[in-house]
């Protein structure tokens, strides 16, 4: 699929289309490359990389909830050096931009990972995971304190060779304060990460060994839409990649309507492993049906209509 209607240009990213798998829901792409041609994707957000290898949390790590799921994987990954040598190397054979998700527990960790991974040729942007709720003493402080988040972002910017997007946590009282705090240092935002939640088993105890997990899937879409809508009112120009429960083309249109530039698909890759290429195909057809020259013709229509403008 190579459709002008869907092409989108963001800092560091020339996207064939605005649909990409979200971090942690696509591993490093190899398994999916056995299912379909990865070059169809707008981009790939790879699983979080940390400085040292992480073994992650004990199991159970996931639980199902109404129209969603909880996860507490705990950032299991083989470490940044391994990822550069093997996982990213593998992806080199596909003409698709990679967005590297960077995680850590201290600013120094983030800088080491960002410095190394931003030099990999196919990594076109970084996504700073300041918001993973599943790592103790971890990213969550960065994700909930605007000043720390800003400091982290600017220090990472200094070492990164590619644009830096900051992934916002919804587990805050004022999302716009977070967004505004990082806005002039970050190249873009990705939002949202998972919401902290809990599920009990029939025995009355939490199912997930970590007790809490991050809620994702269609259940969180209304939360994400609202947060992007709010942030967009304050930051009309910052690139935003929206995510949270994208399951069909209407969801994508909703995200663009509240002001997102592109979308990522997470949980639904588990429900339907072929969802990304299916959505790309259907999105193009829909945009044509709607008579739009470009998908972005409807960008922001959710607030623009309220303000009484054309759309």
């Amino acid at each position: 699929m190579n459709s002008e209607r869907l092409k989108i240009s963001l800092p560091g990213l020339d996207l064939k289309n605005p649909v990409m798998p979200a971090s942690g829901c696509f591993s490093f792409g190899e398994e999916f490359s056995n299912l379909y041609d990865l070059t169809q994707l707008g981009a790939i957000m790879i699983k979080a990389a940390t400085h040292e290898p992480r073994i992650g949390n004990p199991t159970p790590r996931v639980a199902e909830t109404s129209s969603g799921m909880l996860n507490a994987i705990g950032l299991q990954n083989p470490g940044v050096d391994h990822i550069i040598r093997h996982e990213l190397k593998y992806l080199e054979s596909y003409d698709v931009p990679v967005i590297a998700n960077v995680a850590g527990t201290a600013i120094e960790d983030y800088k080491i990972v960002a410095d190394k991974i931003s030099k990999a040729g196919n990594v076109k942007a970084l996504e700073l995971n300041i918001s993973c709720p599943n790592v103790k003493e971890g990213g969550i402080q960065f994700g909930t304190d605007p000043d720390t988040a800003r400091r982290l972002t600017s220090e990472v910017k200094e070492v990164s060779e590619v644009p830096v997007y900051v992934k916002l946590s919804p587990n805050v009282t004022d999302i716009t304060a977070m967004a505004k705090s990082v806005a002039d240092v970050a190249d873009g935002l990705t939002m949202i990460n998972t919401l902290v939640g809990m599920r009990l088993g029939r025995d009355g105890r939490p199912v997930i060994s970590n007790i809490t997990g991050g809620l994702s899937g269609p259940a969180i879409k209304p939360v994400s839409l609202n947060m992007i809508y709010q942030v967009r009112q304050h930051l009309p120009d910052i690139p935003i990649i929206g995510m949270g429960g994208v399951a069909d083309v209407d969801d994508i249109l909703d995200y663009i309507s509240v002001g997102a530039d592109a979308v990522a698909v997470g949980t639904m890759n588990f429900t339907n492993p072929y969802i990304c290429p299916e959505l790309i195909q259907e999105l193009d057809e829909r945009v044509e049906e709607m008579g739009l020259n470009h998908l972005h013709d409807i960008k922001g229509r959710a607030y623009k209509t309220l303000q009484g403008s054309g759309f």
Partner: protein, 249 residues
């Protein structure tokens, strides 16, 4: 990997236990016993996670295979309401099954809902000329299924925790009384059963494990288990069948 199967039949065969026969071309790729399918319980987004269910019986001539499952939670209860002619979305075949070794005489041990994959395993072993003895454990008489089917393949013993069918007690109580010399054991069932078997029997074997899954094909890292070396490996792609001692139980 993703296929829409046609439901040929579905019937209840024990308390909360259903047997579903599915038809479709993907059956031809099902070879190794112990592999599983990942079932989407409905088209809506209400259930975002699929349910892993073992392949219990493969019939290549008719492009059909069978699953046997306990309808207890929200998803499996939905599956149990499906009828002949409905379709079922599955990912398959997934995982690594039981290696078929050409031994003289093997012991096959199943506990509860761990019994189904052992039926296809025993069929294939018998086809290879391996003698099989089966020990099946259940809670109570109302839970027992497939006893007769296993009997057609070899000596079969049943144990129930409450003594309402077969030997009173656990599979290990039956095994303790068996006089035969076995070359190997194959097992599937609750973790405690696998642990006791692995620790008490002076016999090498293969065990099939369970863990909660996200994707079922190696991308989400939900389903890990701890190896004897101390690292976490993915059960959905490296397992669910492992050699005794490989995984910390």
């Amino acid at each position: 990997m993703k296929n829409l199967m046609n439901i040929k039949s579905q019937k209840q065969i024990a308390d909360h236990i259903y047997e579903m026969v599915l038809e479709g071309d993907i059956t031809s790729s099902m070879k190794t016993p112990g592999q599983f399918v990942h079932v989407r319980v409905s088209d809506s987004t209400e259930h975002v996670l699929r349910r892993p269910i073992s392949i219990a019986d493969i019939n290549h001539e008719q492009s059909q295979f069978t699953i046997v499952y306990r309808a207890e939670g929200a998803g499996t209860r939905k599956m149990s309401a499906l009828r002949t002619g409905d379709s079922l979305d599955i990912l398959s075949p997934l995982g690594n099954g039981y290696p078929l070794e050409k031994n003289e005489h093997v012991l096959i041990v199943g506990g509860g809902i761990g019994v189904p994959p052992l039926y296809e395993l025993s069929k294939q072993l018998n086809r290879l000329g391996v003698k099989t003895t089966h020990v099946l454990g259940f809670n109570s008489k109302k839970d027992v299924f497939y006893e007769e089917k296993f009997r057609t393949l070899g000596e079969t013993h049943v144990a129930t925790a409450d003594g309402s069918c077969g030997t009173e007690g656990f599979v290990t109580d039956v095994i303790g009384d068996l006089k035969d010399d076995f070359d190997l054991f194959y097992a599937c069932g609750p973790k405690v059963m696998l642990k006791v078997l692995s620790e008490t029997m002076d016999l090498d074997g293969y065990i099939s494990l369970e863990e909660r899954m996200g994707c079922g094909f190696g991308v989400c890292y939900a389903c890990v288990c701890e190896t004897a070396r101390g690292d976490y490996i993915k059960l959905c792609t490296e397992g669910p069948v492992f050699r005794k001692g490989e995984i910390v139980l």
